[in-house]
């Protein structure tokens, strides 16, 4: 009987070992994963084939294979809308928001998971309650606050990338905090003790022991923070201007009152998603790293 945990493949042949997975498991897995892949990739395929069609064909009758292929959309997207600039803005904003968010969340989660202190419950409950308010209602008050800060201190937060970074990093904070607290909690205290014995302070223990042990969780949280910032539309639409506009809002620029350049929308979306998916491909390795079992015994 087999465990659902990773096992290195044995060299030399495909003989069925007694602990190999049963045929039913293998077949269930194959069917399930194939169906799931189909479900996931179906719209991606439609986006891809739409991006290679001339405009007339895009929302016409559906065909599995486009009758006419053209790469024109992939060239036009850079001119119709300043896509390169939006891409850069999104990268800067999402990247900064992610780094800061993860740092802040790591510190806070360490405090919540390792210490008992007064106000801990209130803090966690308050932070969680921020997820219950619909985003629309934050919009105007937050804009007001940024304008006031701008008026009193001269630091313009609206219309700037900095204001957006601040906003996004806070948006992803509650969930990051909760998840990291959970991931940290599953790192045994014995590891911390071992680090103290070696002469580290609490911060040393954090960075030497806890973080590496919870690395998959941190990666997951970083991905979440990045994608939150990458895909946010509402606040970006109000808080950016032409120079600082991000992708999520900028993509709507392919749609005007009468004409919607669907093929370009699809092409642009695929182009900007390629680096993100490539990032996923690189990162997914780290999601398995850092097993702690056996280290303490």
């Amino acid at each position: 009987m087999r465990s659902p945990v990773a096992r290195t493949p044995r060299p030399g042949g495909r003989r069925r070992s007694p602990t190999a997975p049963p045929r039913t498991f293998l077949w269930t897995r194959r069917i399930f994963l194939t169906a799931l892949t189909g479900f996931v990739l179906l719209p991606v395929y439609v986006m891809f084939s739409s991006s290679l069609k001339p405009l007339e064909d895009v929302s016409g009758a559906f065909r599995w294979l486009p009758s006419e292929l053209t790469v024109r959309p992939y060239l036009d997207i850079w001119h119709t809308v300043p896509l390169a600039r939006y891409f850069l803005n999104s990268l800067i904003v999402a990247g900064s928001a992610t780094v800061c968010s993860v740092l802040v969340a790591v510190f806070a989660a360490y405090a919540v998971s390792r210490y008992h202190f007064r106000g801990k419950r209130i803090f966690t409950v308050t932070v969680l309650s921020t997820q219950m308010f619909p985003g629309i209602l934050f919009l105007l008050p937050l804009f007001l606050i940024y304008v006031n800060i701008g008026n009193t201190t001269g630091v313009a937060l609206y219309g700037s990338r900095g204001g957006l970074v601040l906003t996004y990093l806070t948006f992803s904070l509650p969930f990051s905090l909760w998840m990291l607290t959970g991931y940290f909690a599953s790192v045994p205290r014995e590891l911390d003790e071992a680090a103290y014995v070696d002469g580290c302070g609490p911060l040393g223990a954090l960075f030497r022991v806890v973080v590496p042990a919870a690395l998959p969780g941190i990666i997951a949280v970083a991905v979440y923070a990045f994608m939150t910032a990458w895909g946010e539309v509402l606040f970006a639409s109000v808080m950016t201007n032409d120079t600082t506009r991000t992708l999520s809002v900028g993509l709507q620029g392919y749609a005007t009152q009468n004409d919607v350049y669907w093929n370009q929308v699809m092409a642009a979306s695929l182009v900007v998603s390629v680096p993100v998916v490539a990032g996923f491909l690189l990162l997914q390795r780290y999601l398995v790293a850092g097993l702690t079992a056996g280290a303490v015994k």
């Binding site: 209130i122 609206y158 109000v238």
Partner: protein, 438 residues
């Protein structure tokens, strides 16, 4: 102890909120602006061209021209439609916004009610050449009746009937329909073998409202009574909406699939020869982009119950357009007025409206032969003779949403095969009216 801590937290947050609130609302919208920074202006333009970059290319040289003449530098930002209202809202709430901006003319009354826009009284109009330069119907779409306009007309448009010449020829129809009965008859002749007579954007709330409004005028109904209260269930309003829905439900000249159209699929259907007629504003560029040649389609005025288009019951289109407005707390009032004068000057009006395919609301500029070509001629005549603005009330967008949704739901009923009767139409409109009461 825990209570004390909770109280401290609450108090801190409330205090911070009070501070933010106290400074909130900006400096408000005081008197009539100032002239603190006479050398620069911020202008928010709406997206009128095929895309934002095209708009910048069209407006850029004009703004340079303005700078050369007046020495005022104009910072342009072209804002896509999905964002524009949100941005204006944020600007209104915080007091932090542009000096001059474009607004859809249906927003005029709502924005006027916020008190954020400069009123164009006689003095201000004198600064741009006087009221009489502008088309009277276009001026009606600049704010509530009886009040000074909150904006000045910039680009104007109306609806027209586009028809596929070849499909008409094949069906043996020699000229476009001038009355609704003729339209239905023509549509029925064409509607077979996967082809349909008329296209409708049933899922698009604004389009629904526009059609219902024009039909309402023809039935003598106004959707709002003289006191500004909603009257969606008057006989005329119900008849108007029912007539529009019946094109799908009874006459069967609109394909059922049109009930869910919300991304201009009806234009695509027309361009690919699936539909023979469509009612739209300026669609020429879309048809060309979709592969039609200019000779393939013809333009005619939107039909009327009988006779020819005119005023009163012969109105056949809502008056569409863009207005240009000034934010009350602008820091360059003189400059803003100069800019509006520049944008509404005869020369600029001719140039910009030609570039955008709209009709100038400035009478003198309309005489340019560019506005007498096939498409634009019909639009211009409709605009000057038989178009009326949507109700200029503060709750205009609520009206659009509630009645537009009612029509969308009725189309869904018709498409699903449920019966559409006067009673069912009235019921839905009654529900929409109740939503207005909030």
């Amino acid at each position: 102890m825990r209570i004390l801590r909770a109280a401290t937290v609450t108090a801190t947050v409330t205090a911070l909120a009070a501070v933010a609130a106290g400074c909130g609302g900006g400096s408000g919208f005081g008197g009539g602006g100032s002239d603190d920074s006479p050398r620069s202006l911020t202008y928010w333009a709406s997206n009128q061209g095929p895309n934002v970059e095209a708009d910048k290319k069209i407006l850029g040289p004009e703004l340079k021209k303005f700078e050369r003449r007046t020495g005022i530098k104009v910072k342009l930002e072209v804002i896509p439609w999905p964002e524009l209202l949100n941005r204006i809202l944020a600007a209104t709430t915080s007091g932090q916004g542009p000096d001059v901006l474009n607004i859809g003319n249906t927003w005029s009354a709502s924005l006027q009610a916020t008190g954020a826009l400069l009123s164009w009284d006689r003095k201000n109009f004198a600064a741009i050449g006087g009221r009489d330069r502008f088309l009277a119907p276009a001026l009606d779409a600049t704010g509530a009746a009886g009040k000074d306009p909150a904006a000045v007309p910039l680009y104007s448009l109306a609806y027209a009937l586009y028809y596929n010449k070849r499909m008409f020829q094949e069906a043996g129809i020699s000229k476009p329909p001038a009355t609704w009965d003729e339209l239905v008859a023509d549509g029925k002749r064409i509607a077979k073998d996967g082809k349909w007579g008329l296209g409708a954007e049933g899922g698009q709330l604004t389009n629904n409202i526009h059609q219902a409004f024009a039909l309402g005028k023809q039935h003598g109904a106004d959707f709002f009574d003289a006191a500004g209260k909603p009257s969606f269930t008057s006989d005329g309003a119900v008849a108007a909406v029912k007539q529009y829905i019946d094109f799908m439900a009874k006459d069967k000249i609109i394909a059922p699939g049109n009930a869910e159209y919300g991304q201009n699929q009806s234009l695509r259907d027309f361009a690919t020869g699936r539909t023979a007629m469509v009612l739209w504003q300026a669609a020429a560029t879309t048809f060309s982009a979709d592969g039609m040649k200019p000779g393939d389609w013809g333009v005619a005025p939107v039909p009327v119950p009988s006779g020819t288009p005119g005023t009163g019951r012969q109105i056949n289109s809502m008056l569409a357009g863009i207005n240009i407005a000034v934010f009350k707390n602008t820091r360059n009032l003189r400059g803003a007025q100069k800019f509006v004068r520049f944008m509404t000057s005869d020369a600029e009006q001719r140039l910009l409206n030609k570039a955008y395919g709209s009709i100038p609301p400035v009478k003198a500029a309309q005489r340019d032969p560019a506005f007498d070509r096939k498409d634009t001629k019909v639009l211009r005549e409709t605009l000057t003779q038989s178009a009326a603005p949507l109700p200029q009330i503060a709750e205009e967008s609520q009206f659009e949403t509630s009645v537009g949704t009612a029509i969308k739901d009725l189309f869904a009923d018709a498409a699903a095969g449920h019966p559409v009767t006067t009673a069912s139409v009235k019921a839905r409109l009654a529900k929409a009216q109740q939503q207005m009461a909030q």
